[in-house]
């Protein structure tokens, strides 16, 4: 049984048919990437998984449990961490408070403390900025905070929506290194990217989405070699 499964999901924004029958699976321990150009429906796919937009048709399962109709906070509590597009850290809260909120569903104080220590290990900058307001940090630091915040709940799956967006190349490199590292420690990751080259080099499998439909799915290496993909997304 897949850790995460979408079956023929259709999502609308009013009259706009944004997802037209998306099916995909993510197995435990995998990095799966979803690539596609602007407006293809990548973010909508993640939002539908975590309940921020509703599937009008189709089903979403986590560990075999249907979560299609659940509320976002209920889905998050089941262990889906969504690091949204544009980071969306809480700008007026400190780094510490942002991290603590990431662990909102965690009761045990010790687990929260360990989570903070782990975040510091991955992102030493956060330790220096611990009592600083999130909004006063640089874009790269905010992205690190957003990922660290997502990890605080010890999720079953981490969903990253364009984590490399707007970052300097050296930071992009760092972010993908961290994705790799997290995966080596067993984290399951669904990675949405426009940076197809990088995404496919850390992922084991990939899906290509275009105007709300999956037009290709394959293992990452084959997608990297696929002329159609090379032309459209790696040029």
């Amino acid at each position: 049984m897949a850790l995460l499964e979408l079956q023929n999901v259709h999502t609308y924004y009013g009259g706009i048919h944004a997802l037209k029958g998306i099916s995909l699976t993510v197995e435990k321990g995998e990095v799966v990437t979803l690539i596609g150009s602007n407006g293809a429906g990548k973010s909508t796919t993640l939002k539908t998984i975590c309940g921020q937009t509703r599937a009008r048709e189709g089903k979403v399962f986590l560990n075999g449990q249907e979560i299609t109709a659940m509320k976002p906070h209920e889905i998050a509590r089941l262990g889906i961490a969504h690091v949204p597009e544009g980071r969306r850290i809480f700008p007026k809260l400190t780094v510490r408070e942002n991290l603590e909120l990431g662990a909102f569903s965690v009761q045990d104080k010790r687990t929260i403390q360990e989570g903070v220590e782990r975040a510091f290990a991955y992102f030493p900058r956060l330790k220096e900025r611990f009592n600083q307001k999130g909004g006063t940090m640089s874009g790269g630091e905010q992205q690190m905070l957003a990922i660290a915040r997502g990890l605080m709940m010890k999720p079953k799956i981490l969903m990253l929506d364009e984590p490399s967006m707007g970052l300097a190349p050296i930071l992009v490199e760092q972010i993908f290194d961290i994705v790799n590292e997290l995966n080596k420690e067993g984290m399951t990751i669904l990675l949405v990217e426009q940076n197809a080259n990088q995404a496919l080099s850390v992922a084991s499998r990939g899906y290509v989405i275009q105007t709300g439909e999956i037009i290709l799915k394959d293992d990452a290496r084959s997608l990297l070699a696929n002329p159609q993909v090379r032309e459209a997304y790696l040029a």
Binding site: G51, K71, A76, R88, F90, L93, L101, F104
Partner: protein, 317 residues
């Protein structure tokens, strides 16, 4: 003569100001989260005044008030009124606001005004039925004044109002800044949909906001009745307006701003009331103190539209 009344004027101003401040918190907390002005909040304050006064009147007629320590009596009265108004606030949110959350902004506002009238009439009706009149005189728990030498003195009940208001504000500040649910509340105020990704139940946070804001409003009602003695079902309107003004003055949505805005407004009003007449040779008497308060508000907003402590308004993305 002008100077000798100053201590009492300051205490009066602070008493009024701290009441504005605590009521302003209810407006500002709800606005911070829903960007909605809960016009019924003044009536929650009024209901608190009536619940508190009824508790005192009933225990007095049962004979339990005599011999009770006035601090204990006030404490119990406050608790009962806060529970009642807190629950009332939650109920109003659930019934009158939540179903309208995705409606155009004007709609919940109208609903709030409707709730205001409903509460005024309900209280008036109940009191008229039970007591044949809807003006109540509250039993006073504290009387007397502290002499400050000469013929200067300050009233004890004013001091009690101030001290209790400070305790309530301090408790709220601790809650909002130091507790898990307080941090969640600030997160929901900044970004609801992202807060829900943190497993935060946004509806629950909104309920909590109404619970806290309304119980603070209710507590202030009790203090008001203690301080001024007489209450009627319409006291919520003017006080609510002033508290709302205080919230805007401090920067609506900003908790610290509401506290400071309230105290400032109360002080200015008391000073204007006491000194405007003598200083202008009677041309502008105490009856102009409200005008004075609103003139200050307009001046502040002209130069700093976001209020003294608010942030410049940014359109939400």
């Amino acid at each position: 003569m002008l100077l000798s009344i100053l201590p009492q004027v300051l205490v009066d101003g602070l008493t009024l100001g701290f009441m504005y401040a605590v009521v302003a918190l209810g407006y500002t907390m709800v606005y911070g989260i829903l960007e909605f002005i809960n016009f019924a909040h003044g009536e929650i304050f009024m209901v608190g005044a009536f619940v508190g006064t009824e508790v005192l009147l009933i225990s007095d007629s049962l004979g339990v008030l005599q011999g009770m320590n006035p601090f204990v009596a006030l404490f119990l009265t406050l608790i009962i009124a806060m529970i009642f108004t807190g629950a009332l606030g939650v109920l109003i949110e659930r019934v009158a606001y939540r179903p309208l959350r995705s409606a155009p902004r004007l709609v919940p506002l109208i609903s709030a005004i409707g709730v205001s009238f409903l509460l005024q009439d309900l209280v008036r009706f109940t009191e008229a039925l039970a007591r044949n009149e809807f003006y109540l005189n509250s039993p006073t728990l504290f009387s007397g004044a502290i002499p400050l030498g000469g013929n200067v003195s300050i009233s004890i009940k004013g001091i009690i109002v101030i001290v209790l208001a400070i305790i309530l504000m301090f408790a709220l500040n601790m809650f909002v800044n130091k507790t898990k649910w307080g941090i969640a509340m600030r997160a929901v105020a900044q970004d609801q949909s992202t807060a829900s990704l943190m497993s935060i139940n946004v509806d629950k946070v909104i309920m909590l906001t109404f619970l806290i804001g309304s119980s603070l409003g209710g507590a202030t009602g009790v203090l008001f009745a203690q301080n001024y003695g007489t209450i009627d079902p319409y006291i919520g309107f003017i006080l609510g307006m002033k508290a709302f003004t205080a919230a805007v003055l401090g920067g609506i949505g900003n908790i610290r701003g509401a506290m400071i805005g309230g105290v400032l407004l109360g002080l200015l009003e008391a000073l204007a009331g006491a000194y405007m007449g003598p200083l202008t040779d009677g041309a502008f008497g105490a009856e102009y103190k409200d005008v004075f308060a609103f003139a200050i508000l307009i001046l502040v907003l002209l130069f700093k539209p976001e209020g003294l402590f608010g942030e410049a308004v940014k359109e939400k993305v």
